[in-house]
Symmetry: C2
Subunit: 315 residues, 2 copies
């Protein structure tokens, strides 16, 4: 007579069967993303996309950069200004003026500091304050992220994702604050010394290890989702903190346009992976704990800037 | 009659006096480093320095890169191999074969994967194993770092500095392990699938946000301390994972030499700031909590990769 397995044996058997059925290694993050279903991808509205065109590279190769603007509630005043400046074609003819290795690429009016020669700004720009660097209310944080992030999320300090962007926050039961984070490729608003918070006429992007000391000290307004390589590979500046010493070294910007202002055929159609989807969580887990064949020891956690939100052209 | 201040009042008075004497803002990290004394700087031995010379840039501009090799106990076998390859002039004529944005620049023998065309390796190279990715004993961690780092140091997971390099570790009271970390500019040893751990003939450096998933999965052998901009600004690769599709796109490497093998006049004399010095700790604190005039809200902590060990030419 066969002995009926005891209740202790059953779970053990289940564990053994699972172990046998599971492959020794798991998928890399990009293959998990490739398995996501059409409903897991979110269209980015043409009003939330900027197309920035540099002068062509040395061999006439075009250099086009696509920026996703940050969704409300974050930085709404600066983002409104950037839309206004793009619609006024104000950015046309400005230049990349600064490239500091492992820090930022910055573009703006080369004569912006000279009251006589500065390009006049269009009317209607909003003035923001340092209070606008943080959003003073709670945003949902997916509990599944808690064990993936380093540092771990807790009630007083946490990080998460919202509408394709990462954010960090802190709080007490009575008061919660959130703010966007300076990861590689994020786009921010240049400013002078406080109380100036910048208009949006001068922008920068991060080309190195996340300079998180800038969080809550300067406004972030979006992130580069295509063409980052055209900025990150520019020659580093020859002067102090990476500013170019001579006008000849600068890279001219032909135009920056809202995608919604471009002819239909030139509009990019881009989607981000829904950060609340199961595929995003599997992707985040794979970024935090690589188990694909190249890897031996999973890291046990990832910095939020090591989990960039996946992007694709709409199929 | 004047009342003698009570013992409660005295410390309060001291606090008020300190607050009055202290400027409203503090020095930025680089100004703290500039104040360090000659005895706070440590010479890097010429046997621990590699000088890598690329072919000149388009306008004949020289491109020279200086690499500090990792001190024992870390990665000693791979570092020995790199010295052997440099002394044999094996690296001369290889090329930068891969540039993947926000990840790595990699150099090696373009025909390394082709048994018939691969450049023969010199005899005497050591074979290492995956066990050599970690150092199985305790290294001292300065207690002053505990509150500056994010994540915070605790007994089971910590980070620190030793001889100009950052490391991470974990442990229990009976077993402590340490390993070097993949920060921007770190130099590692390319490898194929495990159990291969690489010889040191193929190297890479990090050109983006620290890919910490590589820690304990691949050997680190040094860090770039001069000329990083020559590698980080190279055009990104046109093929899969950033490999160049055509030989013409590669950047040739003229030579990689140990500084000790160069004529005296060509040897770089470089120093790092002693990571146990008070000035280093003040610098680390300033990186973790910027209080200089541009900043409004100190971050409250820094990732270890946001505290690069300062370097200077020996005065």
């Amino acid at each position: 007579m066969r002995r009926k397995p005891s209740s202790l044996c059953l779970p053990l058997l289940a564990v053994l069967l699972t172990a046998a059925a599971e492959p020794k290694t798991a998928l890399p993050p990009n293959e998990i993303v490739a398995m996501a279903q059409p409903g897991d991808w979110v269209d980015i509205a043409p009003d939330d996309l900027l197309v920035m065109t540099l002068t062509p590279a040395s061999k006439g190769k075009p250099r086009r950069i696509v920026i996703q603007l940050m969704p409300a509630p974050f930085s709404a005043g600066w983002v409104d200004n950037i839309r206004l400046l793009a619609r006024a074609h104000w950015y046309d003819g400005i230049a990349v003026v600064r490239v500091q290795d492992n820090y930022v690429v910055q573009w703006g009016d080369p004569h912006g500091e000279d009251a006589k020669k500065a390009k006049p700004l269009p009317p209607g720009l909003k003035m923001m304050t340092e209070r606008d660097y943080v959003y003073p209310r709670s945003l949902p944080v997916d509990a599944r992220l808690g064990t993936l992030l380093r540092p771990r999320n807790d009630v007083s300090h946490f990080a998460g994702f919202t509408e394709g962007f990462s954010f960090e926050g802190d709080g007490t039961p009575d008061s919660v604050r959130n703010w966007p984070v300076h990861c590689y490729g994020m786009v921010g608003v240049g400013r002078n010394l406080s109380p100036d918070t910048g208009t949006g006429a001068e922008l920068y992007t991060v080309i190195g290890h996340a300079p998180r000391q800038l969080d809550r000290n300067i406004a972030l307004a979006g992130r580069i989702i295509e063409g980052m390589e055209h900025l990150a590979s520019l020659p580093r500046g020859t002067g102090e903190i990476g500013f170019y010493k001579t006008p000849q070294e600068r890279t001219p910007i032909r135009s920056i346009r809202l995608a919604s202002d471009l002819p239909a055929a030139e509009q990019p159609h881009v989607q981000y992976l829904d950060t609340g989807s199961d595929f995003f969580m599997r992707y985040a887990d794979a970024r935090a704990n690589r188990r694909d064949p190249f890897f031996i020891t999973p890291a046990g956690g990832a910095d939020i800037c090591n989990i960039p939100v996946p992007i694709r052209r709409k199929p």
